[in-house]
């Protein structure tokens, strides 16, 4: 296991009578990308704001390298709600953020130019921020978050509002940073990105942990097989097929969620003969579907989660 950079323990926070998050515990290690997932309002940003010291938790503790003092200049942060001062130069604002982090100005300038070049913004350093397109602005924000070579980088919805090309640029950069030893905490609700990028993930719903673990383990544990059958079948018939955990049917399309330890060839052989099959697809539940399930309170995963916890 890699060196532990950030440790969050039993974090809890309420606003007035409303409980936003409770009992949140996870760790982020050097060189890994750790994903926090959850639907809107689940408490992702609140968790992150507590780590950044923008809010103070009511309970629980946060440790950085084992210290409860959070050294802000060693953390890079790209908030979800982000912007830049409008009527200033790109370079000026980058240097200001570097200065706030106590990073030497000369080095900051060099790094800023390198990154601008890397992100296809070469020659834009003296452009006013208000003249940049939205995508360019977001690239500048990412540079601002990493200009001081942080040990821990926290990205809150880094891909929101990006076009596919820029998304790719961001993804590559995040991978590269992790490969160079930066610990990265990334929150998102874009499952495909998370699936591709993250080494581990923490799924949160209504302020509580739902899933926490290695991406591979999570997939193995939760991403069960599902069978999509197109054809006109009574729901009663489908539900009585062995090893079927749940049935979702809509018109002539039915999705059978299978139990975890199902053996597919055996299961296929046991299908009732009267089944009307126009098309049959067997694949695994994607992270995306797990997410949708949680967000729409179908509780399938929650039950499973409890079982495996």
């Amino acid at each position: 296991m890699n060196e532990r950079i950030l440790k969050v323990e039993r974090l809890g926070k309420s606003f007035k009578d409303k409980r936003i998050i409770s009992d949140i515990s996870f760790e982020v290690h050097r060189g890994e990308i750790m994903g926090i997932l959850g639907p809107n309002g689940a408490g992702k940003s609140t968790t992150i704001r507590n780590i950044m010291g923008i809010m103070y938790p009511d309970e629980g503790s946060i440790h950085f390298h084992g210290n409860s003092e959070i050294p802000r200049h060693k953390i890079g942060y790209l908030p979800e709600e982000r912007g830049l001062y409008k009527n200033v130069n790109v370079m000026d604002i980058l240097l200001y953020f570097a200065e706030l982090k106590d990073y030497p100005q000369k080095k900051a300038k060099k790094r800023a130019l390198e990154y601008l070049e890397k992100f296809g913004l070469a020659g834009k350093e003296n452009t006013k921020v208000e003249e940049l397109s939205k995508g360019m602005g977001q690239k500048v924000q990412l540079i601002a978050a990493i200009i001081h070579e942080p040990e821990l980088l926290i990205l809150d919805e880094p891909f929101s509002g990006l076009d596919p090309v820029s998304q790719e640029v961001f993804k590559e950069e995040i991978k590269e940073l992790a490969a160079n030893g930066t610990a990265i905490l990334l929150s998102s609700h874009q499952m495909n990105m998370v699936e591709e990028l993250c080494d581990r993930l923490f799924m949160i719903h209504r302020g509580k942990k739902v899933i926490y673990g290695e991406m591979e383990d999570v997939k193995r544990e939760y991403a069960n097989f599902k069978c999509t059958i197109i054809g006109d079948n009574p729901e009663e018939l489908l539900r009585n097929i062995p090893s079927v955990h749940r049935v979702e049917s809509k018109e002539d399309r039915a999705i059978l969620y299978l139990e975890q330890d199902v053996h597919i060839p055996t299961w296929l052989r046991e299908l009732p003969v009267e089944l009307n099959v126009y098309e049959l697809i067997i694949d695994r539940v994607s992270l995306h579907e797990i997410f949708i399930d949680i967000a729409s309170d179908k509780n399938m995963i929650v039950k499973e989660g409890v079982k495996y916890a």
Partner: protein, 416 residues
């Protein structure tokens, strides 16, 4: 504190690089000069061609023509004197049909009745009626001569009687009726007014810059930079940095203005501004104006953090923005009586106290030290309290995106 300086430096740099700030910085004193000199300029344009052309016909039965002529020359009046004799009707007719002509009949009868008739054309320069008053002096002399009065008597009459009101307290200080004292009193009032006016300008300008704090805090919110900045510094640092930054900006502004305006004022009005400006009293006045700045800065930075959309500001925030102009209400009564009860109340009330104190200290010869000290204590306590409250509002408000805070929300934050 180190982080505050970084923020302050940034705010300073950001504004100094901003073209519109630079333009307004240079334009304001220019406008000031233009507005100050425009009326006199206009007057000159209007007045000059008229006043040069006044022709005064004098019917001289008293042999005063030469005296008057020399008086006209010494007083630099633009009169053209002409002595006439004989029938006045012909002259009057001529005057009636032309412009800028006058007819003065200096007759024995005029001296006797004490009424000199001056006939003028319809079109005359506005200043003529006051200019013509100087004829009183030589005519009175003629009257005195006719009455055979001795020079002593004449002097005694012409001195007249002056009625002077004075407070009992000044009488006990020293006899202040001789002319040299009067001279120094004039001097000392200048000595007071110039530093007072200076401190007033400082206060005004810093309060105006303080309003830029409001914009800056609101912008921070609108442009959603606050969270990025707050990941590096505490809300307290950010707030302090803004207050310090705009304070320095205000000083830069005053400095620039003075650099442009003082030499011109000194040259045009021949005031030894510098000499009057650097007196010990200036220090206290400046301290008061800085205190005033800190108070309004705290209010503005706090309120600014609650406002995202300037156009949708509620009445509440609008009223707060008007607070610096509150002292204007008391201006009249205080000018009438700088030691009155209204003046005292306004001195103790923190929102009006900085400007009212400066105003009163410029007007009063004798500084009411007890009042000054009480007012300063109240002022400092209010600054401390307002800074605390502003900190609370700022901390929560700056991160509340997407809407303006309502007064009831702000009240909740204050108690939280």
């Amino acid at each position: 504190m180190r982080n505050s300086w970084k923020v302050a430096k940034w705010e300073l740099k950001r504004n100094m690089k901003n073209k519109s700030f630079i333009i307004s910085l240079l334009l304001t004193p220019l406008l000031f000069i233009v507005f100050a000199s425009f009326p006199t300029l206009l007057e000159k344009l209007e007045g000059e061609p008229d006043s040069e052309n006044v022709t005064v016909y004098v019917k001289d039965e008293l042999n005063l023509f030469d005296d008057i002529d020399s008086l006209v020359k010494s007083q630099d009046l633009s009169w053209k004197m002409e002595e006439v004799t004989g029938d006045s009707k012909k002259i009057l007719k001529e005057i009636e049909s032309s412009e800028n002509q006058a007819y003065v009949a200096l007759t024995d009868n005029a001296v006797k009745t004490g009424e000199v008739k001056v006939f003028t054309s319809n079109e005359m320069p506005d200043t003529f009626s006051s200019e013509v008053q100087f004829l009183q002096e030589p005519l009175r002399q003629v009257k005195f001569d006719q009455l055979n009065l001795s020079p002593e008597v004449v002097q005694s009459i012409t001195k007249g009687i002056e009625i002077k009101s004075e407070e009992a307290s000044t009488q006990t200080d020293s006899g202040s009726l001789n002319p040299s004292d009067k001279q120094s009193a004039d001097d000392s009032s200048m000595e007071r007014i110039i530093p007072g006016a200076f401190a007033g300008i400082v206060l005004f300008s810093i309060v105006m810059t303080g309003m830029m704090i409001f914009q800056s805090a609101s912008q921070e919110k609108k442009e959603k930079v606050a969270e990025i900045v707050l990941s590096s510094v505490t809300p307290g640092d950010l707030m302090q940095g803004k207050i310090i930054g705009y304070f320095i900006l205000g000083l830069v502004q005053v400095g620039t203005w003075l650099l442009l305006v003082v030499p011109i004022a000194a040259w045009r009005y021949e005031l030894p501004v510098m000499e009057y400006l650097f007196v010990p009293e200036l220090l206290l006045l400046l301290a008061i104006s800085i205190a005033g700045y800190l108070m309004f800065a705290a209010i503005f930075v706090g309120i600014g953090a609650t406002v995202e959309d300037m156009t949708a500001t509620s009445n509440f925030q609008g009223i707060v923005m008007m607070l610096p102009f509150l002292p204007l209400i008391f201006l009249g009564p205080i000018l009438a009586n700088p030691s009155g009860i209204i003046a005292q109340v306004a001195t103790y009330f923190p929102l009006t106290s900085p400007s009212i104190l400066i105003l009163r200290l410029s007007l009063l010869d004798e500084w009411p030290w007890v009042e000054i000290i009480i007012a300063l204590v109240i002022l400092l306590a209010s600054i401390w309290l307002l800074m605390k409250l502003a900190g609370k509002v700022f901390k929560t408000g700056i991160l509340l995106y997407g809407k303006n805070a309502t007064p009831s929300e702000i009240w909740k934050w204050l108690r939280y």
